[in-house]
């Protein structure tokens, strides 16, 4: 990321999003911050505090027109579009111990919306990026959520990265993914340290900082990663390099035939974007 460039960032209303905005601002990159209708005031606050030129675009994220409007805003108001950063996080819909393993159609469709929204933004960016531009999407974890419908988002996003990388390569547009692990946010502060998936499960022994993920995103977007496309970069302190320690608390599980799940789940981070 260098000065004079323009990026669209979606899904920036959390610590990671703030870190990405700071990282862009440090390079003098102008931004279009995109979000849902309910995100307007939060994005306005973020824009006011950002040390760079910022436009805010909000709308129905389930309508591809909102993504197109964000891209048009970059091109018309800020003159160009170099990057898209899509900070997709899957909402985890059925982590309760008594939830059925497969949700009803409406819930299953809702669980897939993060991938659909990312697809809209990537598609809009594909039509509006400069040659030589780049896209980075963040992926939700594949198994951590312990909900099949949410794991599906990880799979869809994986193939979004690879499909868009393949098909936009002739335009010299690179597409990569970042796979954050346990990152310090308000959501994870509530987790007890002795939870199997808490910080003790991370080989580096701590949660990551949002700026560490933002730095990886900046790297993938920029010229240092000029031969990287279709890659998915874990930024997780080694979490994906290892098998998780026991995900089940001791005790239940002896009689498993009548239960949908054998473990109670810790509270899960949820986010609608």
């Amino acid at each position: 990321m260098t000065g004079g460039r323009v990026a669209v960032v979606r899904g920036c209303l959390d610590e990671l999003g703030s870190a990405v905005v700071r990282r862009f601002a440090a390079d003098g990159t102008a931004l279009v911050l995109a979000g849902g209708v309910d995100d307007r005031s939060g994005l306005a606050d973020l824009a006011a505090a950002a040390a760079t030129v910022v436009e805010v675009v909000t709308g129905d994220l389930d309508d591809p027109a909102t993504a197109r409007r964000a891209v048009d805003t970059a091109r018309e108001r800020l003159g160009r579009l170099d990057h898209l950063v899509d900070l997709t996080v899957a909402s985890t819909v059925d982590h309760r111990g008594d939830a059925p393993p497969v949700p009803a159609l409406d819930a299953a469709r809702a669980a897939l919306l993060p991938a659909r929204r990312a697809y809209f933004f990537a598609s809009a960016a594909a039509r509006g990026l400069r040659a030589g531009g780049s896209i980075v999407v963040s992926l939700p974890p594949s198994t951590f959520a312990s909900a099949p419908a949410s794991a599906a988002v990880h799979g869809a996003m994986t193939m979004l990265v690879r499909s868009f990388a393949l098909e936009l390569a002739p335009y010299r547009v690179r597409v990569n993914g970042v796979l954050p692990g346990l990152i310090e946010t308000r959501l994870v502060e509530a987790w007890p340290d002795d939870e199997p998936s808490g910080a003790t499960a991370v080989p580096l022994g701590r949660a990551g900082r949002p700026d560490e993920v933002a730095e990886a995103i900046a790297f993938l977007l920029g010229e240092d990663a000029s031969f990287m496309t279709g890659s998915i970069l874990p930024v997780d302190g080694g979490l994906t390099a290892t098998a998780p320690t026991s995900r089940r608390p001791a005790g239940p599980g002896a009689d498993t035939r009548s239960d949908h799940q054998t473990s109670t789940r810790r509270p899960q981070p949820t986010r609608s974007t």
């Binding site: 198994t143 868009f164 098909e167």
Partner: protein, 279 residues
């Protein structure tokens, strides 16, 4: 070829059974001793009925369930047919899927939604309807994914995403259902014989390009996908859960960068000699 084991009257629901891999799976499971509920879209009713008649003429017990798999009622009806008709449900083969081709920049929201409605949400609806009634322990599910679950092909972006979703959904479902004794596995076919792919082999200019990405130098047969599906459902795979089995002639492992018209076939020794290697 009949299997050296028998499903012994256990009951399987197979979606997308009116042709191609689904038909081959249906015929294989019947030959292996399963009783079947075969599903297909309304538009494929004639083909499905012909397969059903054919199997019944051979003495197999078959029920049919027609309808759009994007509608959960279709899956509920199929599961109902198994429970009403046979009194049990042991296996589910999630094979239904569509693979429309379109350049990325021509894709639309409607295009994406239709693919996901069938390939991802339809599959989930069948699982949701079946799982509470399935034999447990001892039941098994297969989900037909694709080499495109892992590696993209051009002009199939939304399809690739849908198959990526199927793969990860099925893996997580395997984790969820394993404690109950229901195994879930993924079959990932590569290029399998169908009207569209058969065209490739007939056109020498197309095939000379396509064949280099398939180390086995041929497209696969639907029966070869059926054989793997049957194995994964059977008790011979009793400790296999959450596995992704590629049935792709080696395609996902690498490709041969060769002009096949000049590749020496057979014994490599003459080539080794010609470059001074061991004889």
């Amino acid at each position: 070829m009949a299997a050296p084991w028998s499903f012994d009257g256990r009951v399987a629901v197979v979606s997308g059974a009116s042709g191609g891999m689904g038909e081959a799976i249906a015929r294989r499971l019947a030959a292996d001793g399963a009783r079947l509920v075969l599903m297909a879209a309304d538009g494929d009713a004639q083909a499905l009925e012909a397969i059903g008649d054919d199997l019944q003429a051979d003495g197999h017990e078959v029920r049919l369930a027609l309808g759009d798999i994007a509608d959960p009622a279709t899956s509920r009806a199929a599961v109902h047919a198994a429970m009403e008709g046979f009194g049990r449900l042991d296996y589910v083969v999630n094979n239904a899927g569509i693979y429309p081709e379109r350049p990325l920049l021509d894709e639309t929201a409607e295009f994406y939604d239709r693919i996901f409605a069938i390939n991802v949400l339809g599959l989930q609806s069948l699982c949701r309807a079946a799982v509470p009634l399935m034999t447990a322990p001892g039941g098994a599910i297969t989900c037909t994914a694709s080499t495109c679950s892992l590696r993209a092909i051009e002009r199939y972006a939304a399809y690739n995403m849908s198959k990526g979703a199927v793969l990860q959904f099925a893996r997580e479902l395997a984790v969820q259902l394993a404690p109950r004794g229901i195994r879930v596995n993924i079959v990932a076919p590569g290029v399998i014989s169908a009207p569209a792919t058969d065209e490739w082999t007939r056109d020498a200019s197309v095939w000379s390009k396509q064949r280099s990405r398939i180390p086995m130098d041929r497209i696969g047969r639907p029966t070869e996908v059926a054989a793997v599906t049957s194995f994964l459902l059977s008790d011979r795979a009793s400790y296999v859960a959450g596995a992704t089995v590629m049935v792709d002639g080696g395609e996902s492992s690498g490709w041969r960068d060769s002009d096949w018209s000049v590749v020496p076939q057979g014994d490599p020794a003459p080539r080794l000699r010609s470059v001074g290697g061991v004889a």
